[in-house]
């Protein structure tokens, strides 16, 4: 299987603070990777570096076989734009465009950025909304939706550009506990369809259930990574055990 993501020795610091130190991992096509770890360990920064929202200070990154960050630095703007369109990011707090209807939120990028025909973009958006169980909400505005519904729209919005790999940064953390299930169900469905995903999450049961691999991060390094059964079953690291105990206990 081809690697959709190859990260080697990734480094990022904010001033004196080394947030990412020598991060190395790959993600294969169709693989679902859960990233867990205490808050402040650099999980969001990692996703932000992989999606170009943040500039890394060192290391190399390839997305879908296309080098994005090499030993010589970042690729040219045009290539970076092309690579970005292969990656989607679902934010913790959705970041929907409040002044646009649900449908417009989804069609805006395909029509403006990809120059897709409007009718075609709308048809695709409706298809995606149907998949998210939101076909009735096409004309609603984000403020009229529940958090769970908004998050599903934001997933549809990311999918509308047909990304090759989808990143999630704590997609259920801003939601009421009773609403997290609907998001997790959507992600599970995407996993079943073979979508390559990297999911930062605090939902341990979900990570165990849906992920092919779990990465445990702390203080900007990957402490351990492996199959969920390994990490959640009998981790080699005391630190991982300690962290997981808080969730099981």
């Amino acid at each position: 299987m081809a690697n959709m993501l190859e990260v080697k020795g990734l480094q990022k610091s904010f001033g004196e603070l080394d947030v990412l130190k020598d991060i190395t991992f790959d993600v294969a096509q169709g693989e679902v990777v859960a990233v867990i770890g205490p808050s402040g360990s650099g999980k969001s920064t990692l996703l932000r570096c992989l999606t170009q929202l943040e500039r890394a200070d060192g290391g190399t990154v390839s997305v879908c076989g296309e080098p994005m960050l090499t030993a010589e630095g970042y690729r040219d703007t045009k290539t970076l734009h092309q690579i970005r369109l292969k990656t989607g990011l679902v934010f913790q707090n959705f970041n929907l465009f409040p002044h646009m209807s649900v449908l417009r939120n989804i069609t805006e990028a395909p029509t403006v950025v990809l120059k897709t025909d409007k009718a075609q973009a709308q048809a695709r958006a409706k298809e995606l909304l149907k998949k998210m169980g939101l076909e009735a909400k096409a004309d609603a505005y984000p403020c009229e939706l529940s958090g769970g519904q908004q998050q599903r729209v934001s997933i549809a919005r990311a999918l509308a550009l047909s990304p090759e790999i989808l990143f999630f940064d704590e997609p259920t953390s801003a939601l009421d506990p009773e609403l997290t299930g609907e998001i997790l169900a959507v992600i599970k469905e995407l996993a079943a369809e073979g979508m390559t995903m990297v999911i930062v999450t605090h939902e341990m049961a979900f990570a165990r259930d849906v992920a092919d691999r779990v990465i445990f991060m702390e203080h900007g390094v990957i402490v351990e990574q492996g199959a969920p059964s390994q990490l959640f079953g009998d981790s080699a690291s005391d630190r991982v055990k300690q962290f997981l105990a808080r969730f099981n206990g």
Binding site: T51, Q52, L53, H81, R84, L85, T87, G88, L89, F91, N93, N95, L96, F97, P98, H99, E108, A109, V112, V113, L114, Y141, P142, C143, S154, R157, A158, L161
Partner: protein
């Protein structure tokens, strides 16, 4: 004053309403886009430009508009006739300073220039506040979807800014309609001008009250218009 005289006065004032509206409309036409440019300049990452813009805003907001009008108006003839004025600049200023029949044109332009410079500074601060109030997440979501910076500004940020700046802008616009009366000081023939003249002619305060009524009606209409605009944009939060 007899009712006939009042009716005549009313007709006269309606004629002088046009110059007032012209100054008001032209100021908005130029000051709003300029205000947006000034706001972006102040937020510019190139610090010297940002500081310079800030200085301009401080001066415009920290000194009286009337003073600014007088300075702008007299700057051209004063600089032109000063001994140290370079020849090139003098020729240029002579072309700007229209005299004789065109004197009114010069007057309007200079008054308008002062109004635009002043109001652009106020609008700039309102727009900057509006732009800075848009959450960072909006820019990040737009970037993730592949929008360019220009597309992000015009499609995602600006429409949200418009909604947020309407209440504060409405105050400025209503102040502007009343501020146009300052042009009277330069002899610009608008409502204030005719009211003051008729007051002397008739030894009556009625023309002034009538002028006040004109401003009151304009301010009220504007308040209603902005109320409508706010309602129109109420479809989202």
């Amino acid at each position: 004053m007899t009712s006939e005289e009042i009716l005549h006065l009313l007709g006269l004032m309606l004629q002088y309403l046009m110059p007032t509206l012209k100054l008001f409309g032209a100021t908005l036409l130029y000051a709003i886009p300029l205000g947006m440019v000034v706001a972006l300049m102040k937020m510019c990452r190139f610090k010297p430009l940002s500081w310079l813009t800030n200085l301009y805003i401080l001066i415009m907001r920290g000194t009286p508009l009337l003073l600014q009008i007088i300075v702008v108006y007299y700057s051209v003839p004063t600089i032109r006739s000063s001994a140290s004025c370079p020849a090139g600049l003098r020729t240029l200023l002579e072309r700007v300073e229209l005299k004789g029949d065109a004197g009114d044109v010069y007057m309007f332009r200079m008054i308008l220039l002062a109004f635009v410079l002043n109001y652009a500074a106020y609008f700039a601060e309102i727009f900057r506040g509006g732009i800075e109030s848009i959450p960072k997440g909006q820019y990040e979501a737009a970037a993730m979807l592949g929008f360019t910076r220009l597309q992000t500004f015009f499609r995602i940020i600006l429409p949200q800014v418009v909604k947020r700046v309407i209440p504060a802008s409405s105050n400025e616009v209503i102040t502007l309609v009343k501020d146009t009366s300052l042009a009277y000081a330069m002899g610009y023939m608008e409502i204030m001008y005719i009211a003051k003249k008729q007051m002397t002619t008739f030894s009556s305060l009625t023309p002034l009250f009538l002028a006040g009524a004109f401003y009151f009606v304009m301010a009220t209409v504007l308040t209603m218009l902005f109320g409508l605009a706010e309602k129109k944009l109420d479809y989202y939060k």
